[in-house]
Each structure stands twice: as C-alpha cells, then as structure tokens.
C-alpha cells in the first residue's frame, strides 16, 4: 500500500460530543479535543503522553517508533494509564510514522496499556478496530 497523503485534523466518527480524530502530529491536538479519541502519526514517547494527559483526551493510538532505548517510544502508555486514559501503539513496521491516516488504516497494534487491555484491545489487532473499541467505550460512558 502507498503512503496516504498527509493532512489536517480529520474527524472519522462522531456521536454527540464524542469524536474519533486523526492527526499527523500530536502537537495538533488542542483543548477542544477533550471529548475525543486521538489516532496520531507521532511516536508514543513521554513528551506526547504528558501533553495528551494534560488535555485529558479520551483515548490515544500512536506509533511505537521501534520502541527503542528504555522503551522510550512507548513511554506515554504508562503516563496515560495513570490518568485513566486507554492507549495503544502500532508497530513502526506496519504504518508510516508522522502520518495519522496510515496509523489508522494500516497500523497493527504492538503494545497496549492496562485500560486499553480492559476494553479488549490486544496486540495484533488492527488500529481501526482498537480505535473503534475506544470510541464505543467512550460513547457508553457519556450516555
């Protein structure tokens, strides 16, 4: 599959205030995304975890960036878990980093935090299915 085009923030699904959003970079997430599940092209490192937990988003799928030294590529999962936010990463070999649409369309889950695990998200699942599970849980919560 070819690399999908880079783009702006995309709304993939919406139900009431809850949305499933795609971004190429986590830095495009803002205060008004506090009712959203975020699928990002960025790595899952600490810097993104700190930022997204502060914004209180409702779920995150990012790129594991090859996991790397001290598991730095997935450090955000623990941070988000501590804030009660489900999070997972896709393998950097399954999708194009920096490209949120690729994360969503092509990504295969490589790691999950405890909260995502409780939603039935498992390693090997498609990012789309994992994002759906986060989104469905969010809708149930807000009902």
């Amino acid at each position: 599959m070819e690399e999908p085009l880079l783009g702006e923030k995309k709304v993939v699904k919406q139900s009431g205030e809850a949305r499933l959003i795609i971004v190429d970079t986590t830095s495009d997430v803002r205060e008004d995304n506090d009712t959203d599940v975020i699928v990002t092209g960025s790595h899952g490192g600490k810097v993104g975890g700190d930022y997204l937990s502060k914004l209180n988003v409702k779920g995150v799928i990012s790129n594991d960036a090859g996991i790397g030294k001290n598991n730095a590529g997935i450090a955000s999962l623990k941070i988000l878990e501590e804030h009660g936010i489900p999070s997972a990463t896709v393998s950097s070999m399954s999708s194009y980093i920096g490209n949120g649409t690729s994360t969503y369309e092509q990504g295969k889950i490589s790691t999950v935090n405890e909260i995502a695990s409780k939603l039935g998200i498992v390693v090997g699942m498609s990012a789309k299915e994992a994002a759906d599970k986060m989104f469905e849980a969010l809708i149930q919560e807000t009902k």
């Binding site: 880079l6 970079t25 810097v47």
Partner: protein, 135 residues
C-alpha cells in the same frame, strides 16, 4: 508541546546549535540554527524543518520503520541542500532532544550531511558540530 524553551548547546554570533524535544516547536526564529531534536524524522518533520528554514537537523531514526518512513525527512531536506542526520533509536530516547545530543549515535545521513564528513557511527555531538561549523 508546541511552545518549548530550547536549550542552546553552542552559539557563535547568530549561529546556534539548539536542542528541542519536539520538532513541532521549531519555527522561523530558528532559521540560523542547527537543530538537534527528539522527534522521529518522518516526512512531515522534514517539511516542518524546511518551512522553518533551519541550517541543519539531527533527529531520531525511530527504528526506521515501514519503507524507512521514520527517516523520510532526510530526503526532504536533501532536496533543499540542508544537511540532516538521524540517531539510532537504540542509542537515544525518542522525544528527548538532550538524549539525542548527548547519547545519540548517527545511523543515517543525507547527501548534504555526508559532504560535511558526517558518517554513520559518529556521535550526534560531533555531527552537530560539523553542521554548526559549516552553517
């Protein structure tokens, strides 16, 4: 995250080596700078760096990934003659610019960086120095 106070590793007149955790914090005010950052070096990061007009850049190879997409930004900058290199994600912690600078080992270079004598296996610090001296 977008707003970040950059560390200055070296300065000579208007030229600087700056350290950033995220490439998204770079803008036109960095046009005289060699940037060492913690981000992956995907295509979108290459475009951000080019738009900011920086003099050189060192990022994280994020394990290189699908179709080398994690270092696709090297090519973007090469097309504009800007030296760029990446450090191995096993040598430095992604998202941490200081780790890139202090611990990083070069794993990929573009043609413009190669011309400055930057090679795979070199420390990120040495590579940044070479970009700085040429800037």
């Amino acid at each position: 995250m977008v707003k970040e106070v950059h560390k200055i590793a070296r300065q000579s007149g208007e030229r600087r080596i700056i350290i950033a955790n995220s490439a998204t914090s770079i803008n036109e005010s960095n046009k005289n700078d060699v940037v060492v950052d913690g981000s992956h070096f995907g295509r979108n990061v290459g475009e951000m760096a080019f738009n900011a007009g920086i003099r050189g850049m060192i990022g994280n190879d994020a394990g290189k990934g699908l179709d080398n997409s994690c270092i696709a930004g090297l090519k973007v900058l090469e097309e504009h003659g800007v030296p760029a290199a990446a450090v191995s994600n096993m040598s430095a912690m992604i998202g941490d610019g200081t780790s890139t600078y202090e611990e990083g080992e070069i794993s990929a270079v573009n043609e413009a960086a190669k011309k400055l004598g930057i090679t795979v296996g070199m420390s990120a610090k040495d590579a940044a120095d070479k970009m700085f001296e040429a800037a």
